[in-house]
């Protein structure tokens, strides 16, 4: 079995990706944001998560939170600019959901976009596959 190919094909086609391993799902003008399968796999078991408060402003490619695993603490960068309208309280309470369902119930925040054109700066699934195929 080739685990790398299996991993790459896990990146849903309809999402947009950042080079810092966050994904974005756009619905109207609201973006749901999470970290990718590749990110959670590299981090290992996630034990702590911090996210911006609802109402906070986030900026594209700027730090918006932190994720801590048994291996390391990493910054989470917002892939878009806008206002946080909802955050995943369940993931804050039980961060292991990010390991289990990174593209689903392990989402982090929903952001009301201030500049939808920024979506153009993100990668499509094929480009993100390529980015993560060679290790880091």
């Amino acid at each position: 079995m080739n685990a790398k190919n299996a991993m790459a094909s896990n990146n849903p086609r309809e999402l947009k990706y950042s080079a810092e391993h966050e994904w974005t799902r756009l619905q109207g003008e609201t973006a749901t944001i999470g970290i990718t399968h590749f990110a959670q796999d590299s981090l290992g078991d996630i034990v702590y998560l911090s996210l911006p408060a609802v109402g906070a402003s986030v900026k594209q490619f700027q730090k918006m939170g932190e994720v801590e695993s048994v291996k390391a603490v990493n910054d989470i960068y917002s892939p878009v600019s806008g206002k946080v309208v909802e955050r995943n309280e369940n993931a804050l309470k039980s961060p292991e959901i990010i390991n289990k369902e990174p593209f689903g119930n392990g989402w982090l925040v929903k952001v009301q976009l201030s500049d939808p054109s920024e979506m153009g700066k993100l990668l499509d699934a094929a480009s993100y596959d390529k980015l993560t195929a060679g290790g880091h």
């Binding site: 080739n2 685990a3 290992g44 078991d45 996630i46 291996k71 390391a72 961060p95 290790g135 880091h136």
Partner: protein, 495 residues
């Protein structure tokens, strides 16, 4: 009862062994009137202390000591930590009454021998590193870093160059570097590494400007490699008006071969508990002397030992950044480091590093077919970083490899650091291991690489032969259980 089966470790905690009313000593009757403690001075109501006989306590702690893993029992190739053998002569010197039974409040005139030892240690550390002005007081590597950064800050302020707020730090750095820089009030800017594992010098040159206070660099780097363009790097920072700081964690690769001061570094710290064979890894305390070039001497922490008219005195440098510890540091540790350096001599210094480098490269060349080398098989300095990414592709992680090593009586190497290497395993054998020990380690690592292919489940459930098997580190971090409770109310399930 299971506790009488020799192969079983009696696992109950001290508190769980407690029997009300049992005691080790009989206190004499008080010869002053009893008085209740003032209620407002009580921190809490329920101070629970274990009640046991002296023999039970002795057995408990003797058992714990038998479960210890140390360099005195097994191979301990923990990268970036330099777990070398600590010669017993060090301890013998530190326990001489003239060393062990003096008090920091004694007048300088009554401890001239101790002060002379500190003075000579300052001198010899200055000679070894080429940074001649030394303060021995920082109590650990990270405090040494902090001291060095305060010196940099003090220097820029003194020169009224107060806009220098940025500490440049490579992405491969020890986590303490950005932490110490933030503590000292600097803004941290990350410098990328290039594909060979070196500092990206072009990126560094772009980042170095009039806001640069200091560039912090570990040499050799945390991937165990020497920076081939080090002179260009230190020159670029100096041209921008900044200072260059050496994280001395990897000094064990440089002794007698090159000197930080000669390479253009201005400030460094030295972990005596790594390079100079004083105990660490729970055997501490550590010591992290800070070393600077002459023009920064006035900013060193207080105190330093000076020689005035043939007498040794503790003095405060003119523009000192202040005190970092009570008194003057971990004196017992300073005695041990001094003993080691005097015992090895100048010739020995060079031999330490040469053998450390040969040992690391021996391990590298013997294992390069079994584990990936992230930077194309360059010769290493005193430690070698492997990547278990090949094993990861079949579902076995660096963590699993490390846990399996425990079954073979080897302390796991440093894992998942540096962060720029996926599935990193950092092996630092040190100069004190024999070829036979290294060959044994190499054989085990090859066996584990085969197991990763053939029976990965053995690795994923390792270790198998220890009192505790695989620990649930994630749950322990998510739901930490920090305080004993009666009846084990919050105790995690036994494996």
């Amino acid at each position: 009862m299971s506790q009488f089966t020799p192969s079983t470790v009696e696992r109950r905690l001290l508190m769980d062994r407690s029997v009300p009313g049992r005691r080790s000593v009989r206190m004499p009757a008080p010869d002053v009137p009893r008085a209740p403690l003032p209620a407002e001075s009580m921190l809490r109501k329920d101070l629970q202390l274990p009640e046991l006989s002296e023999l039970e306590i002795v057995r408990y702690f003797t058992l714990l000591s038998q479960l210890n893993f140390s360099i005195d029992t097994n191979f301990y190739p923990l990268g970036s930590c330099t777990m070398k053998y600590n010669p017993k002569l060090n301890d013998e010197m530190a326990s001489l009454p003239g060393m062990a039974e003096i008090h920091p409040h004694q007048p300088d005139s009554s401890v001239q021998g101790a002060l002379r030892l500190m003075y000579e240690l300052q001198e010899v550390l200055g000679e070894i590193t080429g940074l001649p002005c030394v303060c021995l007081s920082p109590l650990a590597g990270a405090q040494g870093e902090y001291a060095g950064l305060l010196v940099a800050r003090g220097y820029h302020r003194y020169k009224r160059d107060g806009d220098r707020k940025v500490a440049l730090i490579p992405d491969s750095a020890h986590g303490t570097n950005p932490a110490s820089a933030s503590m000292a009030g600097f803004e941290v800017v990350t410098v990328p590494s290039d594909r060979q594992g070196n500092v990206d010098v072009e990126a560094l040159k772009k980042l170095a400007d009039r806001r640069t206070a200091v560039f912090m660099l570990t040499l050799p780097s945390t991937v165990g490699l020497f920076e081939p363009r080090i002179l260009e790097i230190t020159r670029a920072i100096h041209e921008a008006g900044g200072l260059v700081y050496a994280d001395g964690a990897n000094l064990n690769a440089l002794l007698g071969l090159t000197r930080l001061g000669d390479l253009g570094f201005d400030i460094a710290h030295s972990n005596l508990h790594k390079t100079f064979s004083t105990p660490h890894g729970g055997g501490g305390p550590g010591a992290g002397p800070v070393l600077v070039k002459a023009e920064l001497a006035d900013f060193l922490p207080t105190p330093v030992v000076a020689r005035v008219d043939n007498e040794y005195r503790l003095v405060a440098p003119k523009n000192s950044v202040g005190r970092l510890s009570g008194f003057h540091g971990s004196f017992g540790i300073l005695v041990r480091a001094y003993t080691y350096i005097r015992m090895m001599g100048l010739e020995g210094m060079r031999q330490i590093s040469e053998n450390a480098i040969i040992n690391a490269n021996y391990v590298q060349s013997k294992l390069k077919a079994d584990y990936d080398l992230p930077f194309g098989g360059r010769y290493s300095m005193h430690e070698v970083v492997f990547s278990a990414r090949r094993q990861k592709a079949v579902g076995v992680s660096a963590l699993d490899v490390a846990k399996r090593l425990i079954d073979h009586g080897v302390h796991p190497p440093t894992m998942y650091f540096p962060l720029i290497v996926p599935e990193a395993l950092m092996v630092e054998p040190t100069e004190t291991e024999t070829k036979e020990t290294l060959d044994g380690f190499i054989e085990v690592m090859k066996k584990i690489a085969r197991e990763a292919e053939e029976k990965p489940e053995v690795l994923k459930s390792a270790p198998h032969d220890t009192p505790n098997t695989r620990l649930d580190e994630a749950s322990a971090a998510r739901k930490p259980y920090l305080r004993w409770q009666r009846n084990g109310a919050a105790a995690p399930a036994q494996p």
